[in-house]
């Protein structure tokens, strides 16, 4: 399973510099939160990491990936610039769930999830069909969409569609999973369900899960490590309980909050009290 190094990423859109030098490292088996307010550059950073955008400066490299994820030329332990990987290789290592996406064609949920298998299966489905179906069904069950696997994916609600996209990303069997506001549109039950699932897969399979979010409560409960971005710069990073503090919430999010360790859930609880005007 892979680690990822992000070194000196700068990115400008037009004349506006959005990312002003981002450095950090993400390790296998951890859930990492990328926090910040709207417009701080979180999503842009994610797009630089998954090569959707080309940063002006800096690079993103992966290492310790499974050797069968890429075709040749690299050894276990090599650090490889993610831009050197071809589309197939990259998609076996990194999966992204975007904030917005839509479906115009009447594919079923199962067919949509199966699209995630693209880079792992051949053109004529030489693979064992039964095994593939088992894998897809297990993933859909985990995400809670198996009940409507045969429904038309273009007619789902926002929350259902989101879970379909997450299942699709898991079907890639990635080593690094990038999620952009994954809990958006989900009801509280599914929010917690999804975060439990993220933690579970990262623990069990050693997948690195990076979550871009502005939801401090979820981040505090579920992320092992967090980084906080303010207008394109990292202002805090480290273990979540050290990063998400009353002072930080006041300075960055302009909110008064109570942050405490809860014995019952063995985790941090953030209670937002009021805006600071």
């Amino acid at each position: 399973m892979a680690d990822m190094d992000i070194e000196g990423i700068r990115f400008s859109h037009g004349r506006k510099e959005i990312l002003k030098g981002i450095d950090f490292r993400m390790c296998k088996g951890e859930v990492i939160g990328i926090l910040g307010q709207n417009g701080s550059g979180k999503t842009t950073l994610l797009n630089c990491i998954n090569t959707e955008y080309r940063p002006d400066e800096g690079k993103v490299s992966v290492k310790d990936f499974l050797i069968d994820a890429i075709d040749s030329g690299h050894d276990v332990g090599d650090s490889v610039d993610i831009r050197e990987l071809d589309d197939g290789e990259r998609s076996r290592i990194v999966a992204t769930v975007e904030q917005q996406s839509q479906m115009n064609f009447p594919f079923t949920v199962l067919e949509t999830v199966r699209m995630g298998r693209y880079s792992r299966t051949g053109m004529f489905n030489e693979e064992d069909e039964d095994r593939e179906m088992d894998l897809l069904c297990d993933i859909m069950e985990d995400v809670g969409i198996l009940e409507f696997a045969e429904r038309n994916a273009s007619e789902l609600s926002g929350g259902e569609w989101r879970r379909v996209m997450i299942a699709q990303a898991l079907a890639q069997e990635p080593e690094i999973l990038l999620l952009d506001e994954p809990t958006l549109h989900l009801d509280v039950n599914h929010q917690f369900g999804l975060m439990d699932l993220c933690r579970k897969i990262s623990r069990e399979r050693g997948i690195l899960v990076a979550i871009v979010t502005h939801d401090l409560q979820l981040a505090a409960r579920y992320c092992d490590r967090s980084i906080v971005i303010v207008s394109g710069r990292i202002v805090a990073s480290g273990r979540t309980e050290e990063v998400i503090t009353k002072d930080l919430i006041r300075d960055v999010f302009k909110m008064e909050a109570r942050v405490e360790y809860d014995e019952e859930i063995h985790g941090m609880l953030v209670t937002l009290l009021r805006r600071i005007s």
Partner: protein, 353 residues
């Protein structure tokens, strides 16, 4: 369906059923295609019994039957079949490329572009080098240019393709090239005008074996280029950035689909002119029947398009005694209301925005 199945078993069962259904549809289409072939050869100003047609196709008929069936009707019917297959596959490909089930060669103005290229070549290129290959090449060049132009006009990075923008761009481009073609006609002599007008109407009248041969090569190339990208096309429908993150080489796929569908449109347009709406109707019907998975949709649309066109052309040829309707007008009359109906029923089309 049996009771007592787990969700997992149910999903597997339904998936198998879906696959079987695609096979049945393909089988039925092949059967119908063979039947339609003989029936279409039999009907016309001179009617033959099917047994006679069978003998003649096998080369055992007398010379007058041979002339009408093998030399006049057969090449025309094959041209119609190839055109139908090419246009509906072209429609499928463009719909995937533009991520929009409303796209097709005529809607996007690609047919108009191709016919402008061909008309231009007939009017001015023949003086240099008179050949049908030249016409195909000119049509292909313009089809490709038009498609790239519409693509660039309608596509917004991140936002995909908006239907309104797509239709408006297609309409404007269509108008531009129709104007261009009229201009060429205006400055041409009577003979050239006749041969140009002939195409704009869209007709298989006068298609002979050499036309069928000329069509065959580009259409097979186009079909191969597009079929090779069936899986990629499924992913393309979810948007280019998503497809890329799932491992699709976007540049290669886009180029192959662009070239493939331009070849298909050009191959058809340069032989039989603009035939509208086939690329919209056929994919739509079969998408509701076997689902949007291109691995099934592509072969089925090839068969279905060929069948549709053979039947419609035979209808155009025989509907009115003593004269024939241009097939392009027939497809337009069927197709335009169909188009409006799809636009109205968003749900059936699985179509947003």
């Amino acid at each position: 369906m049996q009771t007592g199945m787990s969700s997992k078993e149910r999903v597997k069962y339904l998936e198998k059923k879906r696959r079987r259904r695609a096979w049945y549809t393909a089988g039925a289409l092949i059967l119908l295609l063979v039947m339609a072939y003989f029936v279409c050869l039999a009907v016309g100003s001179v009617q033959y019994p099917i047994s006679e047609v069978w003998d003649t196709v096998l080369g055992k008929g007398d010379w007058s039957h041979d002339l009408i069936i093998n030399q006049l009707r057969a090449p025309r019917l094959l041209c119609a079949a190839m055109a139908g297959a090419a246009l509906s596959l072209g429609g499928v490909a463009m719909q995937a490329l533009f991520k929009n089930p409303m796209a097709s060669a005529s809607v996007l103005g690609v047919s108009s572009g191709a016919s402008f290229g061909a008309a231009f070549y007939i009017a001015y290129g023949f003086a240099l080098f008179a050949s049908s290959l030249g016409t195909v090449m000119a049509a292909f060049g313009m089809a490709m240019l038009t498609m790239i132009a519409v693509y660039m006009l309608a596509y917004r990075k991140g936002g995909g393709v908006q239907t309104t923008m797509l239709l408006l761009a297609g309409m404007a481009i269509s108008a531009l090239f129709s104007g261009g073609t009229s201009m060429i006609e205006f400055f041409s002599d009577a003979d050239t005008v006749t041969s140009i007008v002939f195409w704009i109407l869209g007709s298989f009248d006068g298609c002979v074996w050499s036309d069928a041969r000329i069509m065959f090569v580009p259409i097979v190339i186009g079909m191969i280029l597009i079929s090779l990208n069936a899986r990629e096309m499924n992913l393309m429908t979810t948007g280019e950035s998503k497809a890329r993150s799932l491992g699709v080489n976007i540049r290669r796929t886009r180029l192959m689909i662009l070239v493939g569908s331009s070849i298909l449109v050009a191959g058809t347009v340069s032989i039989c002119g603009v035939i509208s709406f086939v690329g919209l109707i056929i994919p739509h019907i079969f998408r509701t029947l076997v689902g949007p998975d291109h691995k099934r949709l592509i072969p089925i649309c090839i068969l279905g398009g060929a069948l549709f066109m053979m039947v419609v052309d035979t209808f155009a040829r025989t509907a009115m005694m003593g004269m024939e309707l241009p097939v392009g007008t027939v497809t337009s009359i069927i197709g335009a209301p169909f188009f409006l109906w799809i636009m109205r029923s968003r749900k059936a089309a699985g179509w947003r925005s």
